[in-house]
């Protein structure tokens, strides 16, 4: 138990004091691998190792310019920690490895100068590294072979790798005309498995433009025999090189990184695929293609620089059409060479037909040593008038590489019979805004009725002026009528007063119709007179006595004589109501007349 406590205390002390004690104790070393022979095809590794008691942190690191070397990958960092117990004391060590991949630029001396590494705020400086790069997998000078130019490392290199892997570049022709495409293909020959292949650099060409073509290395791989040895040949690059100026065109070296499985004598390892993987660098050999200038003699005026060997064909999709129909006109140029920059064949314009811009379909394919191209231009031609449409012959000028002369390919087109259609069809092929061919005046107007006599304008007609002025008078009348209507609706006294005479007259008429009954007759007469006064004064008629009625009339400014007539008429009616035999027919007519007269007089005087 005591030992365990001591061990724990010691461990804690080591953890607590370790970082403080090791804060400024680092060892920085730079090394180059492999340690043995280094060739210009060897993958060189620069390993920067920083060791200390604590885990180092590199805050800045810039590799200096190196002699005959350049960085192709990295850095790849690797950290390690180790703790040891020695004689009862605990010690820890930590290391950081930073690995750069370097490539030699060629055989010769190489140097990595001393450089600074900042670790935890302290600058450390490495020692300079010097070594010699020997010739490894480089190719011998290019040499013409067969139809084209070929360059490769003819023998597998030995030394650091000693693995039989090399690149070979082949040009379709050593000499070409300016504008003539030359196929340049690079093949990887290997006798061992190559899990990975990648280009490190892709140099540019001068005096030519290039276009890379697709390569399927696995599908196009083939087993070949070279120098009595069996190889797997993988096409890894295919380019079309078109010289743009006469002279020598240098196809420079290109470097590739090839990962191979190193052959092993260990059959167990071979059986289970446990051979080690090795990264190798391989370079192509430089090639030169000589470009010859095109002759000036006999150059057609419409020559657009197309070089090769071509033929032309032309078709129209119909021989009969209606006015406005879309006729598809296809002209195809195909042959050996590049048609990428080829302009459309000449197609002279003709009257009575509208040509739209052509649609272009182009494809290219490669053969063993050549490039085949096919380009189709499709015009849409719309005939504008009926008749015979003689489509012009299409022509195409090019420089023939076989004969070394300029040639013109021609293709005739059929004559299309154009008839006037019943309607303008929907072409469905070419769409665009309808353009006016000619501007002319609109047609005459037919007569749709009798011709019109001169009439004064609307503004000078009497009814128009009357309607324009009428609101001046109509507005005051309308306002007065509206206000009166509103008062009738809202002021009951005013409304009763305005309706009093009419109601009284109606009651008198009712009395006249019922004159046979003396009581009813006189009651109606008296009621009409009383109701009239009550309505005008906006009072209730029930219970009004003679003196109250007289006071109301007097208040309304009714003269005394008329008030007396009113009073007498009421008394006559009241008397007659209660005396059945009173008042004969003639007397009732007099009462009725008197009542009407009184009401009329009241209307005038009140």
């Amino acid at each position: 138990m005591r030992r365990l406590a001591l061990f724990g205390a010691g461990l804690l002390a080591a953890w607590a004091t370790g970082p403080i004690r090791a804060a400024d104790e680092f060892r920085v070393t730079a090394s180059v691998y492999p340690l043995g022979r280094i060739t210009d095809t060897t993958e060189i590794r620069l390993v920067l190792s920083i060791e200390g008691s604590s885990m180092p942190e590199v805050s800045s690191l810039n590799l200096p310019p190196m002699k005959n070397l350049h960085v192709i990958s990295g850095p790849a960092n690797s950290r390690q920690s180790q703790m040891s117990w020695v004689n009862g004391a605990i010690s820890s060590s930590n290391s950081l490895s930073m690995t750069y991949g370097l490539a030699a630029e060629g055989p010769g001396p190489a140097e990595i100068p001393a450089f600074d590494v900042q670790v935890g705020g302290t600058h450390y400086r490495t020692s300079p590294l010097r070594f010699t790069v020997e010739a490894g997998g480089g190719a011998p000078p290019p040499g013409a072979q067969g139809h084209g130019a070929r360059g490769r490392a003819p023998q597998p290199q030995s030394g650091d790798d000693g693995i039989d892997v090399f690149l070979e570049t082949h040009a379709g022709a050593a000499t070409a005309w300016v504008g003539q495409p030359v196929l340049v293909e690079t093949t990887l020959y290997t006798s061992v498995a190559t899990p990975h292949f990648d280009w490190i650099d892709d140099p540019t060409f001068k005096g030519a433009w290039t276009e890379s073509l697709a390569v399927d290395s696995n599908r196009e791989a083939a087993r070949v025999e070279k120098g009595g040895r069996q190889y797997m040949a993988f096409p890894v690059s295919r380019k079309v090189v078109v010289p743009t100026a006469p002279g020598a065109i240098a196809i420079p070296q290109a470097t590739a990184l090839v990962q191979v499985q190193r052959p092993s004598r260990d059959r167990f390892g071979m059986l289970f695929g446990l051979e080690p993987l090795v990264n190798l660098q391989r370079k192509t050999s430089p090639l030169t293609i000589t470009a010859r200038p095109l002759p000036e003699a006999g150059k057609p005026p419409d020559f657009d620089g197309t070089v090769g060997s071509y033929r032309i064909s032309a078709t129209a999709d119909r021989k009969q059409a209606e006015v406005g129909d879309a006729i598809a006109l296809r002209v195809t140029v195909e042959g050996l060479g590049s048609l990428q920059a080829a302009k459309p064949p000449r197609l002279p314009s003709i009257p009575d037909a509208k040509f739209y811009d052509p649609k272009i379909v182009e494809n290219a394919s490669t053969g063993a040593n050549h490039l085949s191209s096919r380009k189709t231009w499709e015009w849409v031609v719309v005939p504008l008038s009926p008749g015979s449409l003689d489509l012009p012959a299409a022509s195409f000028s090019y420089f023939d590489t076989e004969s070394g002369t300029y040639r013109e390919a021609r293709a005739d087109l059929p004559t299309v019979a154009v008839v006037r259609g019943a309607a303008v069809p929907d072409t469905g092929v070419a769409r665009g805004e309808v353009q006016q061919n000619l501007r002319d005046i609109a047609f005459v107007k037919p007569r749709s009725g009798p011709l019109r006599e001169p009439v004064p304008p609307l503004s000078r007609r009497a009814w128009f002026l009357a309607l324009l002025v009428l609101p001046v008078a109509a507005v005051p009348v309308g306002i007065w009528a509206g206000r009166r209507r509103e008062r009738l609706l809202t002021d009951s006294g005013f409304a009763r007063g305005r309706r009093a005479a009419r109601a009284a007259m109606k009651r008198l008429e009712r009395a006249e119709r019922r004159a046979a009954d003396a009581a009813v007759f006189h009651e109606e007469i008296a009621g009409s007179l009383v109701d009239y006064v009550a309505d005008r004064a906006n009072r209730s008629a029930a219970g009004l006595k003679y003196d109250e009625l007289d006071a109301i009339l007097a208040g309304g400014g009714v003269p005394q004589a008329l008030r007396s007539r009113y009073h007498r008429c009421l008394e006559t009616c009241d008397f007659a109501r209660f005396t059945p035999d009173a008042g004969r027919d003639g007397a009732r007519a007099d009462v009725l007349r008197e009542a009407r007269g009184i009401l009329k007089a009241l209307e005038e005087s009140w």
Binding site: V444, K445, L451, P454, P457, F464, I479, G482, R483, R485
Partner: protein
Amino acid sequence: MSRTRLATLALALLACAGGIGAPPARAETPEDVFDRGCKAYGEGKWDEAAEDFRAVLRYGFADWRLEYNLANAELKRGKLGPAILHYERARRLAPADRDIAGNLAIARSRSRDVVEDPSDSGPVAAVRGLQDRVGPGGQAALVLVGVWVLAAIVTWCGSHRGGFTAGWTWTLCAVVAATALLFLSWRATDDRLVGTPRAVVLKPSVDALAGPGMNNASLFTLHEGTTVEIEAEREGWLQVALPNGLTGWVARDDAERI
């Protein structure tokens, strides 16, 4: 009876029979002449068409189709001045018709004189186009409607206590403004299309002089089809003005009032 007499008698009898069987001749109406002119125009007989349309005009009709058709025939005959004259007259009668405006533009484009009206572009041209489409008559009718709407609102608000609410007041102001605007537009359109006296040059080349008399200096030259404004008239002379400000006197026979 000789053979000659017998033949003459037979011919006379045939003529009588023919006369009896034929329908009675009908006097040709102006409408018939108009239709004949349209047919002649369709057949490309421009001279006959123009003559027929002119004959109908002499009846005193004021039909825009007649003026338009005559202008078409004159233009086809190559008579630019009369064509523009009758297009202008047709436009006065039917300012909203697009064919008249289109044909007039084509005819003017063939005139040698390029007379640019500074106000014939931008928003002013757009407003004028709208005014022409509605026409003076249409605008007058709109003014009448506006006045009655105004009267109705005033009557309604005035006949009720508290009728002039804020909403009605704003509505009233809007209607007043719209009606006033319509009135101004109507008067301007009427003045532009009808009120301003204008004439069209009928001679191929006419010198505009500094005064009403041949002894005056020539200020500028007008060509057939050019439309000018008439500023004054005096003893067989017209004082004409162009939109660019030039004024001069031309003989009355060299230009015809629209």
